[in-house]
């Protein structure tokens, strides 16, 4: 449980971090909160030549609102997000996803950017980012660019980040008026990675029919999964338990072969995904109805 030898630098600016990454001949790893990287290093499953510690890049720790969006620095801890009144009031889905991440000790260390860049398919943040249509700001040797969340997650533990790029900020829109949301998961224990989970947003049109339904599943594929067939099945329909059940069934049929492990077979995960969709839709519709004032 001791890492193999590596070089270590602790830059104080993003530019220095980028130049450390570009200057490395071998493999370089960014260290944020260390909640995934440190165990991987200690188990010698990750053996980078260089570790670039972002812990001293103070400029990446913030939560701000501008132009109808929340901008969160990549080195902001999850605990800060959890405790942010701004987040709780302006984007409650982000708050709900955050409190489901592991335990307080881990949220104290773990960062927003770290979760995104780690891209664990069973983690809450990638699904949250896709559900909210987040924009990820990235700085590399050629300057800054932005990546849409749905394009950011490529496959298991793999993102669209280039080797010398640093994720600096995530931007999520604030909750639209009239919008209902849910973030639901099923994990063996409180704080575990989910066996399956769903982020759901939906609105109700003037006639009380579902509209703009967006469903993002996690824990069931290599990246957050959007069961578009289930979304379409919901839109334009009158909400109700039958509809949720039907959407759940559709969603569980839509996903590719999910992971199988000691806690859940692929078949059980597929089933759970449907249950999460059903429950998530019910919760999201209830919130949408409440937002319209007819709850």
């Amino acid at each position: 449980m001791k890492p193999a030898p590596f070089e270590y630098v602790a830059p104080t600016t993003v530019e220095e971090a980028v130049s450390s990454l570009s200057g490395c001949d071998g493999e370089a790893k960014l260290l944020a909160g260390g909640q995934s990287l440190m165990p991987l290093l200690n188990m010698r499953l990750a053996r980078p030549d260089l570790v670039v510690d972002l812990g001293r890049v103070a400029a990446l720790d913030y939560i701000r609102e501008s132009d109808g969006r929340l901008a969160i620095g990549a080195m902001t801890s999850k605990r800060s997000v959890e405790r942010s009144g701004l987040v709780a009031s302006r984007q409650p889905l982000l708050h709900a996803a955050t409190v489901l991440v592991a335990h307080p000790q881990i949220r104290n260390r773990g960062t927003v950017g770290g979760s995104m860049a780690q891209a664990d398919p069973a983690a809450e943040y990638p699904a949250m980012a896709v559900a909210l249509d987040a924009e990820l700001r990235v700085v590399g040797p050629d300057g800054e660019r932005s990546i849409n969340a749905e394009d950011f997650f490529v496959t298991y533990l793999t993102t669209a980040l280039q080797p010398a790029e640093v994720l600096t900020e995530i931007r999520v829109p604030v909750l639209a008026p009239g919008s209902g949301w849910a973030f639901t998961e099923v994990a063996r224990r409180h704080g575990d990675f989910a066996m399956a989970g769903a982020a759901v947003t939906v609105t109700l049109d003037a006639g009380g029919h579902c509209a703009d339904a967006k469903i993002v599943l996690f824990g069931v594929g290599p990246v957050p999964v959007r069961p578009r067939g289930a979304e379409q099945a919901v839109n334009g329909e009158r909400p109700g338990e039958d509809l949720y059940r039907q959407a759940g069934r559709k969603a569980s049929e839509e996903i590719d072969e999910p992971l199988s492990d000691v806690h859940a077979s692929a078949e059980y995960r597929r089933h759970l995904a449907g249950v999460m969709v059903r429950r998530g839709l019910a919760e999201a519709v209830a919130r949408a109805a409440a937002a319209r004032g007819d709850a």
Partner: protein, 803 residues
């Protein structure tokens, strides 16, 4: 000198007990909470080296060649050992049954994933782990056996070839006319059950610092060792050393629960020290080592069991067939876990006859170790499911069914068919209090209402026995030799009346040092702070086994009170001489020696102690002049077991009833515990605060094994649960808040009437939780036969029921 140890709290020489029997905060806690306790990894010795162990990735393979040359040449590396060193310097582990041990480093072949094949001592753990990567091992993989039923087949590969079989033990124990009981029974209920591998997970893994002088061959082992004396004897046998050449100093440790095995790592560190010219070598087991190859795993069981019941709902016979997969060797003493159920085979019931068909099998999994409870928890899981199945079969409420079969209070001491004697009990009272506290009738009403709504709600009522104060004779059937497990203490009073107690066991978390202080403070009428407890190493300490088998609270109470009694006798003789009277006229009460019938004629304890220490010329000639005594307590009346394994083994029998309410999510199979009630009777509660702590922790572990924990292997015996992301220990979020109430039926056989209570609730919790789960499933017509009742399993059952 015959020593009379107080049997009741009232017998203590104090008119106002201040400590014993009261909620006393643990004296250990201040140092623990402020990080001042010295654990083994805090120990730093001059010139100390650090050990890392290379472990097999194969479950079964020949070791063709181990090349360590490159590792030896690395900077910082001081010594490397392989299987050849183990063959040269050590013997195979002693086991029960005999002959199922191997060397601490695999020499010719590896038998499980994680078995050591080489080890390095270097100036840092980092360098040692770097060096492991430079050792090349050529393996020739062999066919693997991961299933005990496959292992019993003729064609199975053999784990230890020399034995010619994988069956470590196959015996049928028959206690009474079992066949007739089943033939005559009005009802017979038979079921299969599966208890998957679980085990201890103390906060601290194992660690040791070993020094083996290559000239004198003196071996000093410091470590987080549960039983220092036992461990020392084991090292002497392993290395062929005279036992007085081995000195073991156990350090305070962060829990054990049976998981503090550590013998292989210790032996490896010893050999590295010898190779490194006697430099101290530290080995700290990391968590993955612990989970894959440490003392982490126990109880891998396949059961078929039956009970016979008469027309009145009385159980007339119990028949249990067990196949227990002990893994690759017998080194972890997993076998004694299969023997211990004999101490309470028929639980709290008057079942008159029983049979135990016991098969212990070797496979290519990690050798099984002890775990809290040491074997009865799975047995009671089986017995209590059968009790419920029978109650349902006869349409009797499960609580009533148990009441009907309880051993009545007026029949103690009570000898069970498997030979052990229960000391005392008030089982119906315990049941009544538990049902009362739970609001049982109301719970049943709520359950009926919930079922009307299609919800899956269940209530479990289970009862079990916690055998306390173990003796080796309990394990005679699997080849453990001997009887008698002593515990000693030396009590000394100084010239100012301050008192020091010397013991041979380390702090492990059960508050025993507090207990020692409570006892001495009340006995001599001093503040608890006037009592200091000092731990000695095995070459200095009085005879000691330490914690294990729910014994230490009772045993150390006997030792300390015995020593106090001996001091009292001496001091009475001295006081009598000084007061010019007979010792029989002197009485100790509230810290003063007084002359009976002569108010005012008295000496305080410090006055007598001071006189003894300063004026030996004034003392009676036959009195030892030290205000000090050692007493060694051993459970009385233990004798070797008979042919059928019958013996008075465990001295005490605590009993408990748990009432559990659960709701199962029909969509996901998740179990939520909404009610948890404990009523227990462990005799006199010497420190109720500690008893309650033990109960809560033990319920937590019971919930863990019932619903969460499971060591999983694939068909090639590769472990799939190697981190805490896979092996799921319940956290504070999963363990229910519990309501507790107690009944106190003192033991007639023990110091102050206390019973063993350290292992506690884990005897009852898995049974109770599973009774609740199965009660919930009744309307679906399915039975959960497998532990843990993980969501994936319950979901499958529910789905099958609905299809």
């Amino acid at each position: 000198m015959a020593v009379e140890i107080p049997k009741r709290l009232e017998d203590l020489p104090t008119s106002a007990r201040r400590w014993v029997g009261r909620h006393v905060q643990r004296r250990e806690d201040a140092a623990l909470l402020t990080g001042r306790t010295e654990f083994i990894d805090d120990v730093v010795l001059p010139r100390m080296l650090h050990c890392a162990i290379l472990r097999s990735p194969f479950a079964h393979a020949r070791v063709v060649k181990v090349d360590t040359r490159e590792a030896e040449s690395l900077p910082g590396v001081v010594a490397v050992v392989t299987g050849e060193d183990a063959l040269r310097w050590s013997h195979p582990a002693i086991t029960a049954p005999d002959g199922w041990g191997t060397h601490c480093i695999a020499a010719q072949k590896v038998r499980y994933v994680g078995e050591p094949v080489a080890a390095v001592a270097a100036t840092s753990r980092y360098e040692a782990e770097d060096a492991l990567e430079r050792i090349t091992v050529d393996y020739d993989p062999l066919e693997v056996v991961a299933d005990p039923f496959r292992a019993m087949e003729e064609s199975s590969p053999l784990v230890i070839e020399e034995k010619g079989t994988n069956v470590m033990l196959q015996r049928v124990f028959t206690w009474g006319e079992v066949d007739r009981a089943f033939a005559d029974a009005a009802h017979v209920f038979t079921e299969k059950f599966r208890w998957n591998r679980v085990g201890a997970n103390p906060t601290e893994t194992f660690g040791a610092v070993c020094e083996w002088d290559p000239m004198s061959l003196d071996l000093t082992v410091r470590g987080s060792i549960q039983s220092a004396s036992h461990f020392g004897l084991g090292r002497a046998a392993t290395f062929g050393l005279p036992s007085n050449k081995v000195n073991v100093k156990s350090h305070p440790h962060g829990g054990s629960f049976g998981g503090k095995g550590g013998t292989r790592g210790t032996d490896i560190a010893c050999m590295l020290s010898r190779k490194a010219g006697g430099r101290p070598v530290k080995w700290i087991e990391d968590r993955m080592e612990y989970l894959v190859s440490g003392g982490s795993q126990a109880w891998d069981r396949h059961y078929i069991a039956s009970i016979a019941v008469d027309g009145d709902g009385r159980v007339t016979g119990l028949d249990v067939k067990l196949v227990d997969d002990l893994g690759a060797t017998g080194e972890g003493y997993g076998a004694i876990s299969a023997a211990k159920p004999l101490a309470a085979f028929t639980g709290p019931y008057t079942i008159p006859v029983a049979r135990y068909d016991l098969t212990l099998v070797a496979t290519n999994k990690l050798p099984a170790s002890p775990y809290r409870g040491m074997g009865p928890p799975p047995h009671f899981f089986v017995l209590e499911q059968l009790m419920d199945i029978a109650a349902r079969g006869l349409d009797i409420d499960p609580a009533e069914f148990r009441r009907r079969n309880f051993i009545p209070s007026d029949r103690f001491p009570y000898t069970i068919p498997s030979g052990n004697e229960y000391d005392s009990g008030s089982y119906e009272e315990v049941l009544d209090k538990a049902l009362d506290l739970a609001g049982y009738a109301e719970l049943r009403r709520q359950q009926a209402a919930a079922r009307e709504q299609g919800r899956i709600v269940g209530i479990g009522v289970a009862s079990a026995i916690e055998p306390g104060v173990f003796d080796w004779n309990a394990y005679a059937v699997v080849g453990m030799q001997g009887t008698g497990v002593p515990e000693g203490a030396t009590v000394s009073i100084d010239v100012l009346g301050m008192i020091t107690v010397r013991v041979g066991f380390a702090m492990e978390g059960q508050g025993q040092y507090t207990l020692v202080s409570q006892l001495v403070a009340d006995y001599f009428g001093v503040e608890m702070d006037a009592v200091r407890v000092v731990q000695l190493d095995t070459q200095s300490a009085p005879p000691s086994f330490g914690p294990g088998g729910s014994r230490l609270g009772v045993a150390i109470t006997g030792a300390v009170l015995g020593a106090c009694e001996r001091i009292r006798e001496k001091m009475c003789a001295v006081t009598a001489r000084l007061m010019q009277t007979e010792p029989a006229n002197i009485e100790l009460r509230d810290g003063k020696f007084t002359v009976k019938g002569m108010p005012g004629a008295e000496m305080s304890v410090p006055e007598v102690a001071g006189t003894m220490l300063a004026r030996s010329d004034l003392l009676p000639p036959d009195v030892d002049p030290r205000p000090e005594a050692t007493h060694v307590w051993t459970a009385p009346g233990r004798a070797p077991a008979d042919e059928e394994g019958r013996a008075k083994s465990y001295l005490t029998a605590a009993q408990a009833v748990h009432v559990v309410g659960v709701e199962i999510d029909p969509d996901t199979g998740f179990v939520e515990i909404f009610k948890y009630v404990v009523c227990d009777d462990c005799g006199t509660r010497l420190n109720p605060a500690v008893v309650e702590g033990q109960t809560e922790g033990s319920v937590a572990q019971g919930v863990g094994v019932a619903l969460y924990e499971e060591y999983v292997y694939d068909e090639e015996a590769q472990p799939l649960t190697t981190t805490f992301m896979d092996y799921l220990i319940p956290t504070v979020n999963e363990v229910p808040a519990m309501e507790k109430v107690a009944v106190v039926t003192p033991s007639p056989f023990t110091p102050l009437g206390a019973k063993g209570c350290g292992e506690g609730a884990i005897h009852t919790t898995p049974a109770a939780v599973m009774c609740a789960v199965n009660d919930a499933l009744v309307p679906l017509g399915v039975l959960a036969r497998e532990v843990p009742a993980a969501p994936k399993r319950l979901w499958k059952l529910i789905r099958a029921a609905r299809d």
